[in-house]
Symmetry: C2
Subunit: 170 residues, 2 copies
């Protein structure tokens, strides 16, 4: 079982602006310009927080966005989720530790899911696209606890205006 973070941030480390706005990202280019398709095909499970799900669910066909993965939303809300998404109320680290050893998990979006996994040393790969913008304020990707956590830089790529950095834990 391997846990991947794959996603885009600004040069100053924000996933979105304060109002969850991603205009700066859409103006930079499309995720389809990157290696996303190959990445997604190799994933079995996605996990995300409720806030990330709320953003995704603004799309027209929310059930078709991640069609080949099992998709879990960590939430304490009793609101029913659309087809293709399963609510989870347990701790995300407990969930990840219980996943089959041959499955790949993609951590989508927010730091509320990523941070506890980083704190428990449960993230195996970080694949980060950096958009060439500064925002000055917003929602930070990295909010894990203070601790020196070293990864290994495997590769750097340039997809249009995105710099992609590929890190592994081992």
């Amino acid at each position: 079982m391997s846990v991947y973070f794959y996603g885009c941030i600004t040069m100053d480390g924000y996933l979105a602006d304060k109002n969850h706005n991603l205009n700066w990202l859409h103006q930079t280019g499309s995720i389809e310009d990157t290696g996303f398709s190959d990445f997604y095909r190799s994933m079995d499970i996605t996990i995300m927080g409720k806030r990330t799900f709320n953003e995704i669910s603004k799309s027209e066909n929310v059930s078709d966005i991640y069609p080949t993965t099992q998709n879990y939303v960590f939430t304490h809300s009793a609101e029913p989720l659309p087809y293709g998404y399963t609510a989870k109320t347990c701790d995300v680290t407990a969930f990840v530790n219980a996943v089959d050893k041959n499955k790949n998990i993609w951590v989508i979006g927010g730091s509320t899911i990523l941070s506890p996994l980083l704190d428990c040393n449960l993230v195996d790969f970080l694949i980060i696209q950096i958009a060439p913008v500064l925002l000055g304020d917003g929602i930070s990707l990295f909010t894990q606890k203070e601790s020196l956590n070293r990864f290994y830089l495997k590769d750097v790529k340039k997809y249009g205006q995105f710099a992609e950095l590929i890190y592994s834990k081992q």
Copy 2:
């Protein structure tokens, strides 16, 4: 006249840990493994804050570190500086605006010098090495005001365990 930021940060955007410690950087590799020499040769002037100077001045031969540039330290302290460094008490944006048009300025280290220049749109190039570590807390490079500020990604490079991202304003 062009203003360059050139320096190393962690994946989570820190120049140093809370105690100004750079062990994580030294354990990653040496700046000499990167294109630093070529970069430095093309600079005419360096500017830095007092805190960055204090870190540099712990070196044995502080006057030899930046031998071919004019080196300015922005400080309100009356303490004399070693040979090779000139104290400046004026505003850093006023200083930069008064520099000869054919000179290249390197902003060394801290956000106290970089941020007002970013706020005034006076930074022409950002050359950032990213070390493959997370710290979780420390001294952030980017502390400029909230504002969408777009650069252009010119190139990405890999120097050992450092990812280098090269951005220009135009």
